[in-house]
Symmetry: D2
Subunit: 358 residues, 4 copies
């Protein structure tokens, strides 16, 4: 089941150390200007090897469009994109071939499929998320024409939480930090863990602005539920929260309800979604990432033959996956919104009749 979305949908393929990863984006409305450079720019935001806070592994992540675009515009046919793995044979994986890395999907893939591509996690590697980012870049292109923006940033690392949410600061930050005041402390925590051959967790905040009221398809394709699905499906995500989420739980109803005036809502505890449908206010969500399971300390594990071993991973890994994960969250959110926009067009007869001039 490697497909997401109903009308604006995408599927991905590819393994960490296979020939290539890629995606096929289906349902893109025809006539959308597609710019390979914009897609590449999004991929570059996710790309590894750019500073001390990410894995030192180098991947060009150069995207190539194979179909669906003609004379610079989408044609309404599937847009296939491929990213060739440039250094997939550079490493010897024999040391992890028969060993399940703790915290990884090695164990479960083996038990499910009876076979496992042990080279860097294969399909379960976060490398696959590059394909999501490429698909998301097309969704973002569509959203921008409709005045919708999706922004992301890292609000918390290793328990050090942002007190302000400055999305304008994010692009300038090596760790995509939302709060410049805590950024240095967050960086220090990452480096300390890294030096200890360890890793840290983090929290990503997403904001979606410019959504019209009405997006979301109750009762089983609600905007918040599909966002939760999209976010929880990202590698290492362990919790998703809409609006004030966790805080709401400790509030009274009289505090948590957002009063309405004719100029709009007086507050936004709900995170811009009521009954699974956007209310026109800013949509806000948080995604919680566990610490990278790839660490270099010795750990208890077993082999595929169920033999106990003590095992220390080698190689290069992100000390905090939330950072590059934020770009993936942003892509997934854009993809969800694009789908909801198309689905919503059938909501009432007035709009259908108007569309068909009937």
């Amino acid at each position: 089941m490697n497909r997401f979305g109903i009308r604006f949908s995408f599927s991905t393929f590819g393994e960490s150390h296979g020939k290539a990863i890629g995606c096929v984006v289906d349902g893109v409305p025809a006539g959308l200007r597609i710019d390979e450079q914009i897609i590449q720019a999004e991929l570059d935001r996710r790309k590894p090897g750019q500073n001390a806070f990410a894995t030192a592994r180098k991947e060009a992540d150069a995207v190539e469009i194979l179909s669906g675009v003609f004379e610079g515009k989408s044609t309404g046919t599937p847009i296939a994109m491929v990213i060739y793995n440039t250094n997939q044979k550079s490493k010897d994986y024999s040391n992890i071939k028969d060993v399940f890395r703790p915290g990884h999907a090695d164990y479960t893939y083996w038990h499910k499929y009876g076979i496992r591509d042990y080279r860097g996690g294969g399909r379960s590697s976060a490398r696959e998320t590059a394909a999501r980012v490429a698909a998301g870049a097309i969704a973002k292109t569509m959203l921008s024409l409709l005045g919708i923006t999706v922004r992301s940033g890292v609000s918390e690392i290793a328990g050090i939480a942002a007190k302000q949410f400055d999305f304008d600061h994010v692009p300038a930050s090596e760790i995509y930090a939302l709060d410049p005041d805590v950024e240095a402390a967050q960086k220090a925590a990452i480096l300390e863990a890294k030096n200890n051959h360890d890793s840290v967790g983090g929290v990503v905040q997403l904001r979606i602005d410019g959504l019209p009221a009405g997006l979301g398809e109750p009762l089983y394709y609600k905007l918040d539920a599909v966002l939760a699905d999209a976010m929880m499906g990202i590698n290492a995500a362990k919790a998703v929260e809409i609006g004030d989420g966790l805080q709401s739980v400790r509030m009274y109803g009289s505090e948590n309800n957002d009063p309405i005036r004719n100029s709009g809502f007086e507050s936004n505890h709900s995170g811009g979604i009521l009954g699974g449908i956007s209310n026109g206010d800013e949509v806000r969500l948080n995604v919680y990432f566990k610490p990278t399971p790839s660490i270099f300390q010795e750990q208890h594990t077993v082999t595929t033959q169920n033999e106990e071993v003590d095992f220390a991973l080698k190689g290069r890994h992100d000390p905090c996956v939330a950072i590059r994960g934020s770009v993936v969250c942003e892509a997934m959110a854009a993809l969800v919104v694009a789908d909801m926009l198309l689905l919503n067009m059938g909501r009432n007869m007035e709009g259908v009749s108007r569309y068909y001039n009937a």
Copy 2:
């Protein structure tokens, strides 16, 4: 989009104050013994009007199976169930006809559809969740044959959190409390809010035991992602957390990884899911419910004509939706697992060949 699941799927229909609510469960394997009394027993757990901690509204919630069962067994055809609304005309809704109740879906349904069934929220009412519970009862019947159990309980209310998780205590508790030691305080908090015409939030914990390793369909129908979808789609849910979730974020990788021995995992921070696939350990998740938006204090709102009014809701409502919501979480989890079990049967050729004796 009123359907959930792929192979073991269900759809629901009906509004709070229409003739009936109901569901159609599709993909139930033939030959499953279906007991209307077991379904009714599950519905009775969710039923309103049973004590001071739930709405005083009375609904019999009597289920009737219309199809798909012959001589007490499922036939492989869709099982339709209907619950007639017995007192749907008993109330005058003229006072909320043109008013958007803060925190409710009134506003968004109106903006989406251009029409709104104002009687008790119509389709957006939590009354619809009775249909989920009926569908879930069939899923649970199937799971029980495979040695899988799904349990739920309320761990936190109004900020008062359980310190122990005693699922055996839940059936005896009027608030489905997990911790008998804090139950009295939790009850007091509910009643205090109720007396203040207010409401409180709560947290539900779910445990799924007996799952084989291997359930979940990566990369876009992962077990955790679909559970997140299922839970976030329940009325008033605002956050979903798998395993240690929020705590994981503040741990080091070396603490959060679950070491493996040949007898199994040494810890279960992951909540029984790795890479979106069950690892054979207990699956554990938490669902966070906001306080009931239906409160009896005066609030700012507007009418469908965008006129500002101050509005105090009347009627009878749950002071804490998490309580009855826990039964819905349990049903949804059972439905997700049933679907995953069927999907998983095509995972590898060894199993396919064995199935077809080839």
Copy 3:
């Protein structure tokens, strides 16, 4: 898998001799005026027991809307409809309980599910098609607002083929005949077969007028392919033909291509569909129905214990299923077109931007 369609979709439930049959129609745009009498009128066209050319069995087929309609209009929520089986216990089925009726699904349901509702075929009975007709009536209501009509009639019975296609004659004909000149001969053939305890086949012609160019979602949800799916899925259908279909195969390309002038196509061999997309011309298709398998002559068959028996069916059955089947074809075609209309709204950015006033 008891669901059809993507955006305007429906599912059905119920068995021939269970409590009820019914359907849930999902994705109906809000604000559509729903008239129970119009739905009933469509059901009455399909209803058995109206003359000598259909089964003598009486069923009121009275439809009841359970949800999705408020103050006479669709609300955007699922429309559930139920038709109670009024005389489902009136007959003794013990004689066919263990016997597979030749030409029926008895044999295959038994081998698939290991269980079989032997009362009148259970779920495999054509009685289920009443639910399709109810769903189709809602689709037709929507189409009528957009100037689209779907008409059907019987063109051939027992090898006696229409030479003219007078759709205005159909409502007045007891056998929904398209050609009044051959109608008497067709009727005589039916009655002769009936007297011989036998049955005859027939061909239904469908015409869809008023379609805008552009409907159909290539490459795997083409208009013609989905119509073929919809028609072949109707009980007893054995072939589907679009446009000149079978004749086209014997023509040269130079004869079969439809030349284009600025006033439109000069001919319509294609049946109004090119590349799976409507071209704005009339869509025309034929559906071929085998003779009713239920006959009263003695036939070779076996029991569920694989014992050979000679078996003559009793009861009341249509001598020619194509007649009432034509109403079902019409309903299915309307449902397909309604779905295609909604899907098509996302075809290009110009339309999306216009819809959202962006």
Copy 4:
């Protein structure tokens, strides 16, 4: 909507003259031996330029597997395959840039999308079917392990019909003819039409052997209905017939029913499907292809500006698309059966319990 199938599913991408065409096959059970040479051999059967009865255009159609296969076996992850277009820039399309070729999808794509890839039909070109054949090769690999074979051949060309159906003769025939006795006449008819700058139609017969009884998911994913969908969606297909189909319509029920003995069915008019489910007998269907719309005679048409022109196509085209189309029919049938096999595994509790050893 460029995806087909539910469990064993595939999607395709690519245009006739873009960089590449390809497919992503999802749901392939892990552990299936995947042989690139077998896939290439299937592609070679469909490849153009092999004799006088097909287009003279040359395409290597060399397939490359990008993902989903590790050490020669499927891993349970999506199998992406790409076929680069080697001579896509070799031709000048300026003469057809603004002209709608009669009988082609040019007109409808333009009206749907407002944009059109005029190079050889773009996405609507039959070139896309190479991707289906690659996907089908994987399905056939799976079927062969289960003892299921899918065979195809051309039964009729230009009205010259086979009287015998010799599938063993097909591989040796340049036109994949089923009847060696009429093959010469069929060839002559093709060449005559070709010399006249014209084209002819044809009929493909498919046989599926070795199916277990029970495949097909009633009521809306029936085996026959999905086969009809699959076949009618192939370029130039205009009719689909199951079993005796058209002949059945002119038979009496007493002739058309297949009597059953304890050794099996005494005849097979049904084509191996009853109630949408396989009965264990041979599945037989016919697909009717119109004559190639690409002809070299002058035809009436209009431009995108709706100006009338008389237009004669240039280039190289198949004089009879049914021939290479037969390989595509075979691939699609294999893909449908593979999907049905996986879906069927959830049919009853006995099988589910056995699978999970419960």
